[in-house]
Amino acid sequence: MTRLNRLAGRTPFYVLTGGLAIIFLYPIIWTSISSVSPQPGSNQVDGFGWGNYETLVAYQDGVWHYLGNSLVVSAVAVVTTLVVATLGGYAFARFTFPGKDALFLLTLAILMVPYAALLVPLVIWLKNIGLNDTLVGVGLVLAVFQLPFATFMMRIAFEAVPREMEEAALVDGCGTFSALRRVLLHAVKPGLITIGLFAFLAAWNDFMVPLYLVSGDNQPLPLALVNMRQQVMGVIDYGATQAGVVVLTIPCILLFLVLQRHYVNGFMSGALKG
């Protein structure tokens, strides 16, 4: 009886908070349903079906091509971030060398400089180093803007590993690199997953860097979708746009749900900075 009372007393709480949760989820649910629903002006006029996704597949080079571009950009950004931040974090955590503090501060200083202010010179500079209008160029630029967070995070991760762990390996005749590869990498794995996840989400979703740096065949999916919206004979195909949003969003939500713990961890180390 008391339990029932308590439940009744808390019903408004559940209704209110549940309503709030639905407000947050509603736009995503609405897009997913609309993308397969009949809509005037789209490729899906009667009944439910995949017509809008067929529009996407048929758009210019096809959605697969742009998805491929997005994958290449993300892969370059994630791999570069992981490798550079791991080696850099190891150097900053375990070695003393001249210029160490200056380099670390310089890396953190990237946080102070918005990439919005560096894209104009990057358009020119990438041309000089042969990376203009390339997916690799976009991936590298995105990786650089992940470096402050990633390097900081990996430095903390390496510093949290007890020195005894690698001393043992070093005494056994391992070089520092094989100590890193065989012993330390396991210990910093959670940090690697976190920075990899953040780099992927940033690169996969980025719109502004590709907008400045690539065109035509080299557009990643977000840029291609925005351009598609503007180009279909002045009439906006909302159905295809919604289908595109769903395609872009699914990997992000899945990754987020699977790796939620690592996502949250990223925030906690970020909060330590404050």
């Binding site: 150097a91 070695f95 003393t96 310089l106 202010a117 987020f256 925030f267």
Partner: protein, 316 residues
Amino acid sequence: MSIAPTRPRAVAAGTPDAPPPRRRRRDRGVWQGWIYASPTALLVTLLFVVPLVLVVWMSAADWTLLGGNSGVNFPENFVEVVDHRLFWPSVWFTLKYTVITTAILIALALGLAMLVQESTRWRGILRTSFLIPTSLGLASASLLFYALYSPQVGPVSPALEALGLADANVNVLGTPSGALWSTVILIVWRFAGFFMLLLLVGLQGIPHEVYEAARIDGARPWQIFGRITLPLLRPSLAMSTILCVTGSLLAFDQFFILTKGGPDGSTMTVVQLIYSFAFESKRDLGMAAALSVIVLAALVIINIVQLKTLRRSPDE
């Protein structure tokens, strides 16, 4: 979820905390340290330092999109930028947007964080629901809301009509204030979970005993909130505010996709103006670089001021 009790060692301090065991390894360490740090140095130099120098140089050069560099043009670029008819309106709009977004986002995020603070199953579900929009890209979220707001297919326009707030088939993005508030709603939806999480980490760092003690002393809930939660949450609130202000000042994607700066340039942000100078209206990279330098300098100053005022502990 709990916060790590000890802070990591002071990060920027270069003190050699533990002396390396052997002299020989220390010498080798210098070389090896540099080798491990060299990819960082290379990438940072190539794609951060060089563009940073280049943007300053370009800002002082007569540099068109198609014609390239044709000599010094200082300070004409800056004069032209500041005299441009959209410069001051865009600065003013960006500031207005930043203040509105930051006030709403931080207040809402604080509410959400306090709502999901306890770890129960239900609150875990709520937390995840609030966080899911943060995994969307800003561009995808903007496209999503573009459809949501459209009078042809979106539910917003019929809903406003049903509530008697607007005529049939109204385009909410069609008026300056409609466009501003529609964008604010999009951003609040996309980022509330992000700031909730930051504040949640801060909330969980407040020791339980402090609340207990206050409750035993007979403090009322709003007293506990005003006298304990807010002051102790100050570092997290400060960091959230700085991140939110910086992010909003640099707003681009959401306006580029939702409003294209319209109607009539009323939602043109400063960063959009950089793009417009470079590729649309002027095709003048010198002017775009000059505006970039202005943005950069303003942002560094604003960040320093924010750090100084927000980081100060209350008793100072």
